[in-house]
């Protein structure tokens, strides 16, 4: 991926100098980012960096105060999640992706249920719903035993995958993933990242919110670093190595300070506090 290549295409979503305040708290200040089809844009930042606020603006849950949000070159302001969905922007939230007590197939079609019949006899097309759910999951490489089981009985990773498959099935152009790997183990995280890559290969523009630079660097094409509501950096994959991304993400100089403070008085520090790679 080169810069000239992406500069000529209109991004699916472009945020320019976007700001948002809650009362007197400035949650986000002058943040810019681009999302292109078939690419993964990673938004990295520590807790409270403004990641959630950023995605809520793109997902239609909140509106920005300043700056511009353009969707396929068109200035937009999203009033509700429904509106965002209608513009092809689907969001998968870490904790509220699904309704746990409902069967997988009901969850899959929730909010966009296919119906048959007419007038007062309009009803859910249950057979199609079941069949389509199974097929759509299989296409993403998810092989589920029983689409009738409550989705709460699936593992966290599987639930994320069903939500991703749902977004792909409903023709989303942009997929926003809020910390999809945060609560998962190493193996489950790998599985989820594979489906993220599968969504990218299906031609979607993906926004991956994470505070794990290792996961981000594995799949990301662009990286936006947030720090206390402002943009701390914006890089293409070709411009930044994992070490540097990890260092910036972990706070750079703050980390050196921390390693200094944590160092044993006599022995030298053996490892970087950011951990092994």
């Amino acid at each position: 991926m080169t810069t000239t290549d992406t500069a000529t295409r209109t991004p699916l979503i472009e945020l320019r100098e976007v700001s948002k305040s809650y009362g007197n708290v400035k949650a986000l200040q002058g943040v810019s980012l681009e999302v292109h089809a078939g690419e993964i844009t990673c938004v990295l930042g520590d807790n409270g960096a403004g990641k959630s606020t950023l995605i809520k603006i793109v997902a239609g849950l909140h509106q920005h105060d300043a700056g511009s949000l353009t969707i396929e070159g068109e200035e937009a302001r999203l009033g509700s999640p429904r509106e965002a969905l209608d513009r092809g922007i689907a969001t998968v939230y870490q904790d509220l992706a699904v309704v746990p007590l409902m069967p997988v197939w009901r969850n899959f079609f929730l909010g966009s249920e296919p119906r048959k019949g007419r007038g007062p006899f309009k009803r859910l097309d249950v057979e199609t719903m079941r069949r389509t759910t199974r097929a759509a999951l299989l296409r993403m490489g998810i092989d589920l035993r029983d689409v009738d089981q409550p989705i709460g009985t699936l593992s966290g990773g599987e639930r994320q995958c069903v939500a991703i498959a749902r977004a792909v099935h409903f023709g989303a152009k942009v997929l926003i993933l809020d910390e999809p790997t945060a609560a998962l183990g190493v193996k489950q995280s790998g599985v989820v990242l594979k489906y993220v890559a599968a969504a990218r290969d299906a031609g979607l523009g993906v926004v991956l919110i994470t505070h794990n630079p290792h996961h981000a660097h594995l799949v990301g094409d662009r990286f936006v670093l947030l720090k206390r509501g402002t943009m701390a950096g914006s890089h293409l994959k070709s411009e930044i190595a994992l070490d540097e991304l990890t260092r910036q993400m972990a706070g750079g100089s703050e980390l050196e300070q921390l390693s200094h403070e944590l160092a044993r008085p006599t022995e030298p520090v053996e490892k970087d506090a950011a951990g092994e790679v």
């Binding site: 999640p81 309704v99 746990p100 007590l101 909010g111 599985v191």
Partner: protein, 347 residues
Amino acid sequence: MSADAPPVTKDDRLVRRSLPRRLAGRPELGAIVGAIAVFVFFSVVADSFLQWSSFSTVLYAASTIGIMATPVALLMIGGEFDLSTGVMVTSSALISSMFSYQMTANVWAGIGVSLLATLAIGFFNGFLLVRTGLPSFIITLGTFLILQGCNLGFTKLISETVSTKTIADMEGFPEAHKVFASHLTIGDVDLQVTVLWWLGLVALATWILLRTRAGNWIFAVGGAKEAARAVGVPVNRTKIGLYMGVAFAAWISGQHLLFNYDVVQSGEGVGNEFLYIIAAVIGGCLLTGGYGSAIGAAVGAFIFGMANKGIVYAQWSADWFKFFLGAMLLLATMLNWWVRKRAEAAK
């Protein structure tokens, strides 16, 4: 799930679950087991319990609770409470009666006005809930007290007693009586028309819950409101709709109350809201929302009917009814909880 599993052609991991196991996953199971237990119990202790006439009495008692328990169950699946239901029934009857009497109108005019007014009360409950975001417990406790006050206050103000004037001699009364409070005889069984209203509502509610988009939304707003909103479910409209459904059933119950006796006592209905909730909970509705069934609530209402009349047939003091109801509620809830644990563990 394993990501690198080979593409599966036929799913052999899916073991066909046995019938008892599949039944155990249904919300109604606890209620059905409870209903059988109560039925056997009263069949043994009360000789006259097994007669057809007793059966129709039990059905009638069940229907008066069941008509309301059905939409209350839907509301609870949708994650909300309504404490104003008991007095709302009385309000609906009072509005109908007093409008017809004061305007000397055809009773059907009163019935129509009552429908609109009761639906408006339901809308008010729902609207306040979604606008303020306060717990439904508080909001409907407020409307409960307001309605109770209005019922007594307006009745005394207008009729100068605590009950309404009789409307039995007014135009349209015989027809309305037929619709809301008549008997039909099928074979040996004498059926109150409320039983038909009840069964109709249960069928409608079950169809809505399991086979329509609205039903999907009801489960979703009760199970995980924010997740539902995020995927585009109209949460507010669904909740307001549920409250208006409760109001609609309150209107049916109210009209029965009026046309069964032709006068209405303004203080009636207080405490009934708990009976409706109890029937829904015995029927498998979770207090936290997102789980339950209309058929379960119907079985819950049937248990209520059997207990209510069974005590009479057993020639015990009716004072013990509440004790029985409380014990039943605890047992059924524990049974439901236990069954659900077992069902989940068996997966």
